[in-house]
């Protein structure tokens, strides 16, 4: 005889959705999940029982927004969530401060210099000139171009180990 413990369906749906979303990564930075990046803002239950996933793009023009939204939907489908809605929300605006400490380490490990610590003041925006080389940790680096392979990165070069590298912009 099996005893079925009834749990509210809603709580299960949210937990299952959160669990499923742990596998969704940024297509341009596949070492980071959307939770690591801080672009997954909330998973909640809407008024009509729909699971609502709130995401905030790193850049307004980030071309990955559409793909990430689709990947979220695929993950929710796999988790057999029946009713869901992905909401792109621009306010409050995403900042590099929302990157988790683990995310910064993961970025470094794959050769991308993490952004300077705070973007709350406009002065700090451009303080990344002292980007540390993610390979040899030297501070003898120079900016090659303000604009790199994706909208959120700038291109740098290490003057010690000569390795070119991407630096996550402080925004």
């Amino acid at each position: 005889m099996v005893t079925v413990v009834e749990r509210p369906v809603e709580i299960d749906a949210i937990a299952a959705a959160r669990n499923a979303l742990d596998s969704v990564v940024d297509p341009e930075l596949p070492v980071l999940t959307i939770a690591d990046l801080g672009i997954l803002r909330d998973v909640r239950l809407g008024d009509d029982g729909t699971v609502e996933v709130i995401m905030t793009p790193t850049y307004l023009g980030c071309p990955a927004i559409g793909i990430i939204a689709i990947e979220i939907e695929v993950a929710l489908e796999r988790a057999q969530i029946k009713k869901y809605r992905v909401i792109v929300q621009n306010s409050p605006a995403w900042t590099t401060d929302w990157l988790s400490e683990g995310a910064r380490e993961k970025l470094r490990a794959c050769g991308i210099a993490p952004p300077a610590k705070t973007s709350s003041s406009k002065r700090a925006l451009f303080a990344v000139d002292a980007a540390l080389c993610p390979i040899c940790r030297s501070d003898r680096t120079e900016r090659v171009s303000e604009f790199g392979s994706t909208a959120c990165k700038a291109l740098y070069r290490c003057l010690s180990c000569r390795e070119p590298f991407d630096c996550f912009k402080c925004i």
Binding site: Y59, L60, S91, A93, L125, E146, F147, A151
Partner: protein
Amino acid sequence: MPIDPQVHFGYLLRLADSNLVLGHRLSEWIGRAPVIEEELALANIALDLIGQARALYAHAARIGGGGRDADALAFLRDQIDYRNLLIVENKNRDFAHTIARQFLYSAFAELYWDALTASRDTELAGIAVKAVKECAYHVRHSAEWLIRLGDGTQESNNRAQKAVDELWMYTGEMFESDQIERAVLDAGIGVIAIDLKPAWNETVEPVLMRATLQRPKDGWMMSGGRSGRHTEHLGHMLAEMQFLQRAYPGQQW
């Protein structure tokens, strides 16, 4: 003070239109830029501007789009319905012209977005917080180039000066005021652009000086973009930009 949704919609549309049109102009450089890094930079700036426009169109559509979405607003409106500033629709000429246009506009846009971060329209304020940081990069990048060109060779100096001279008559429109602007100001949503003029001068003048370029005198200024009176350039641009949606309505990637 509550605001008429159509006025609010119209205000968002003019911000969106300027960004989309300039973003499209920059994207026309892809495959033609002088060096690969600059090609990436122009494409990146274009992406930022189009992204800002997309967020604004989506927001505008929710407020007063009458069932139209962001794509419909971008691809299915005619030239006379576009509300962008005339400076951004100017067709691409040489690289100096593109850089000067970017600098004069971005110096304005950065100040404008900064002021909009205090908007009572929280979605607009959120977009502004993002956009002002993106714009800071655009200003710095275009200023660095303008200085390099102006203070470069005789040829690059001539071209940069010619570009600034030709574009100057389009800068007055950025600071014009009208009924829509006053209505959004009263509602705590918008900004009075003329208040930004001193700060704009403080950004622009030192860069022109370092670039050894003459600041043109404020003479007669072109105007009309905000009432749908455009130069001949916009229609040609829209014809190309909107072609696919016009020829194959509803097509999707």
